[in-house]
Amino acid sequence: MNEERRQILEMLSSGKITTDEAERLLAALDTPPATASSAASSEPGLKPNPKYLRVLVEDRSQRPGKGHTQVNVRVPMQLLRAGVRLASFIPAQAQNRVNDALREQGIQLDLSQLKPENLEELVNQISELTVDVDDDDTKVRVFCE
């Protein structure tokens, strides 16, 4: 019997802890210590950071000359992060043109304001997001894994 078990039993015999508490403590001694990452992943409500962005498209329309089409794309999140870092090297003139083109499409996004830390926040948020579009002919799914 090791020292910790002896101490737990002594605390139980002296009435400092209940039998339930002693049982929990003994069980905790039997459990091997978990690493920080595995503890985070096993904790309910906390998901590990997604590694990939998946886009699945299935076109079931039977148009002439075009049959059943399937698209399966997996993009590493690391590539998205690196892409944002690379975007900071786009010259200001080109950034303005891209911003204008985005604004014409109704997207209010300023590329110069896009920073890696913003992307990290975005990645954390979209890990919970799933886009699921399903109609008679087409099915689109965008999610993180």
Partner: protein
């Protein structure tokens, strides 16, 4: 780590799917002398363009490294294309 292997696949006319395993680490080895020769010129050009060459090389390296795990697969009745970067 940069990609070491690329798998390209497509469907032939007879319907068979052909996959090519391309060891890109050999391509990196072949490109290395060329990169070493071009590096000083690229460095000077970036300095002239008022860009930090170290930051740009780092960002480029991260993009290259980030490619690992990419998978693109498109399939329909007539065609099949697969690109996997490992």
């Amino acid at each position: 780590m940069i990609p070491l292997l690329v798998i390209l696949g497509f469907r032939k006319h007879n319907g068979r799917i052909v996959r090519f395993w391309i060891p890109v680490f050999l391509v990196w080895l072949l490109l290395l002398p060329l990169v070493l020769v071009l590096l000083p010129f690229a460095f000077i050009a970036l300095v002239v363009m008022k860009l930090n060459p170290f930051r740009l090389f780092k960002a480029g390296w991260q993009v290259l490294s980030g490619l690992r795990g990419t998978r693109v697969e498109v399939e329909d009745d007539n065609a099949f294309v697969l690109i996997r970067i490992l």
